[in-house]
């Protein structure tokens, strides 16, 4: 078999081509307030595999919806057999990126499990599944709970902070292990930056923000416990930007900073100011 992601001791729907031709499509919507987070499905919970859906109807299997928040160390699971699911989470328990993992699991031991459509490599094999065994893997989704995020601010201000570093000279340093992306300029550069940042912001965006954002985009998943990660992800999603080309995405996020830098520079040269 080709393309299996995880090696399970039994066939799992949507794990590689254990059972070819299936794709589980789920969707969730959420309403966030300080007190509570309401989550509900926007597409019915179904594997589209008749045998597994029947196991859920019969009570031998259930959907497992796991909510994880790395920042607050919260992890809750919900077992359900309904097709339209809704749950209310406690607001003070969650902040930052919430991951939703979906699976179908056996809720009791299932002997001689042999789902229809098995990959031919399995032949006539059947399997004894223990309670808790995974039968199907649904999509993993994520969304951001950010109670301090100000959507009226320019995205860059909610994501990056430029500060004076402790090094005297040399290249700037980028720290991603905080709620903001921290850019530390050398003392020498900071003095220059402080003098001209309000006069030629676009030129500075091109020189500093573009490479920093490109780096951050490539590391967004590694830092999902930091608030900047969720904010950046949301800003990218709102513009339909892909993470596959971080440098292009960074330029899109900053509204084509190079063009604007040229315009800024030309205006200053035309005016004869420096």
């Amino acid at each position: 078999m080709k393309g299996a992601q995880v090696s399970y001791p039994h066939p799992v729907l949507c794990n590689g081509d254990d059972i070819p031709g299936f794709k589980i499509d789920l969707g969730f919507e959420y309403i966030i307030t300080d007190e509570k987070i309401t989550l509900k499905t926007t597409k019915r919970l179904s594997t589209r595999h008749t045998g597994i859906d029947n196991l859920i109807k019969d009570g031998a299997a259930k959907w497992l919806i796991r909510i994880k928040c790395g920042r607050t160390y919260m992890r809750e699971i919900f077992l359900t057999s309904v097709e339209d699911w809704e749950e209310v989470l406690s607001g003070p328990d969650y902040e930052g990126t919430l991951r939703i993992e979906t699976e179908v699991i056996a809720t009791e031991d299932i002997d001689n499990y042999q789902p229809a459509g098995l990959h031919e490599d399995y032949g006539d094999a059947d399997f004894n599944i223990q309670a808790g065994g995974i039968l199907a893997i649904g999509p993993n989704l994520s969304f951001t709970v950010d109670k301090t995020y100000d959507p009226l601010k320019a995205p860059i201000e909610s994501i990056v902070k430029i500060v004076q570093g402790s090094h005297l000279s040399g290249p700037f340093k980028t720290l991603l292990e905080d709620d903001f992306i921290i850019v530390k300029l050398s003392k020498k550069h900071w003095a220059e930056y402080a003098r001209i940042r309000d006069r030629v912001p676009m030129i500075l965006h091109s020189a500093i923000a573009v490479p920093v954002l490109a780096k951050a985009i490539s590391k967004i998943e590694e830092h999902e416990t930091c608030l900047w990660s969720g904010r950046l992800g949301r800003a990218m999603a709102s513009r339909g930007l892909s993470r596959e080309d971080p440098l292009t995405a960074a330029q899109d996020l900053l509204d084509d900073p190079l063009t604007r830098a040229f315009e800024e520079l030309n205006t200053r040269l035309d005016k004869g100011t420096s």
């Binding site: 995880v6 399970y8 001791p9 039994h10 259930k62 497992l64 796991r66 994880k68 790395g70 920042r71 607050t72 160390y73 919260m74 992890r75 809750e76 699971i77 077992l79 607001g91 003070p92 328990d93 969650y94 902040e95 930052g96 699976e103 699991i105 809720t107 223990q130 309670a131 808790g132 065994g133 995974i134 109670k147 902070k161 500060v163 570093g165 402790s166 991603l176 292990e177 905080d178 709620d179 903001f180 921290i182 530390k184 590694e222 830092h223 416990t225 930091c226």
Partner: protein
């Protein structure tokens, strides 16, 4: 009641940046108080504090510095009673407390403060370090240890089988051994309440019967992580979950020849 104030982000940056300077780093090792004033730019919070600041205890003998962790965790948890998880995820709070109220305790509990990384680990809280950062800051580790284990039967009625007159029974179990604390806090399964309490309960019973607690705890963490890849134990009932974990722990204790007392 008093209100806890916290340092702002700029102060946080300034004092962490200052660790590049050896003289400033030495403050953590030798000064009775943090030498830089943190008054400027302090932010108000909605965090209420008990009137009495707890007197955290730490042994002067290096090999016993962790002996009072559970006792101190309970004191910190009750001092910051009502703190939410979101508030507890704010590194500025813990950095303020390590540099002010609990400065002396931090120096006693973490006495090797002569490198920048050591101070960053225990006096600050680095977000991107994942779950591990929670157990490193000298004060946040105590709060989280208590928060994750206090009276679990009050959070989930299915856990009433574990009910005890001691609301901090599982805090004491978790902090009785640093290896257990590390594995529970840093492994993903430890963030699930049912899993956490069943593992602690099982380890507590078996630790009384084995010759090397650390070795058993480490092996259980590795095997459990593997098992969870194909079997979602957190979906089992408490009875089933405890049975699976007990079997795993007993099997490993026998395999490693660690058992010194009868197991049944």
């Amino acid at each position: 009641m008093q209100i806890q104030k916290i340092i702002n982000q700029r102060t946080y940056q300034n004092i962490s940046d200052a660790l590049d300077d050896e003289e400033r780093l030495n403050v953590y090792l030798s000064e009775e108080k943090f030498t830089e004033s943190l008054e400027y730019g302090l932010l108000n919070t909605t965090i209420n504090l008990s009137d009495k600041v707890p007197d955290l205890v730490v042994s002067r003998e290096r090999e016993k510095v962790s002996a009072n962790d559970a006792e101190n965790a309970i004191l910190i948890y009750e001092y910051l009673i009502g703190l939410s998880r979101v508030q507890a995820a704010d590194s500025r709070l813990w950095t303020t407390l390590t540099h002010t109220t609990f400065w002396s305790y931090c120096q006693g509990r973490w006495p090797s403060a002569n490198t920048k990384n050591y101070v960053l680990d225990h006096w600050f809280e680095l977000k991107g370090k994942g779950l591990g950062a929670l157990r490193r800051n000298a004060i946040s580790r105590l709060w989280w240890a208590a928060h994750l284990t206090v009276a679990p039967w009050e959070k989930n009625t299915n856990l009433e089988v574990f009910k005890s007159s001691d609301r901090y029974k599982y805090t004491k179990i978790m902090l009785s051994q640093q290896q257990t604390f590390q594995d529970i806090l840093e492994r993903e399964y430890g963030s699930n309440l049912n899993m956490r309490i069943c593992i602690l309960d099982s380890l507590d019973r078996f630790h009384k019967k084995v010759s090397n607690k650390d070795e058993l705890t480490k092996s259980v963490a590795v095997k459990l992580t593997l098992l969870l890849k194909s079997r979602k134990l957190d979906a089992l009932s408490i009875d089933e979950l405890l049975q699976v974990i007990d079997q795993l722990v007993e099997k490993l204790a026998k395999k490693l020849n660690l058992i010194t007392a009868p197991t049944a």
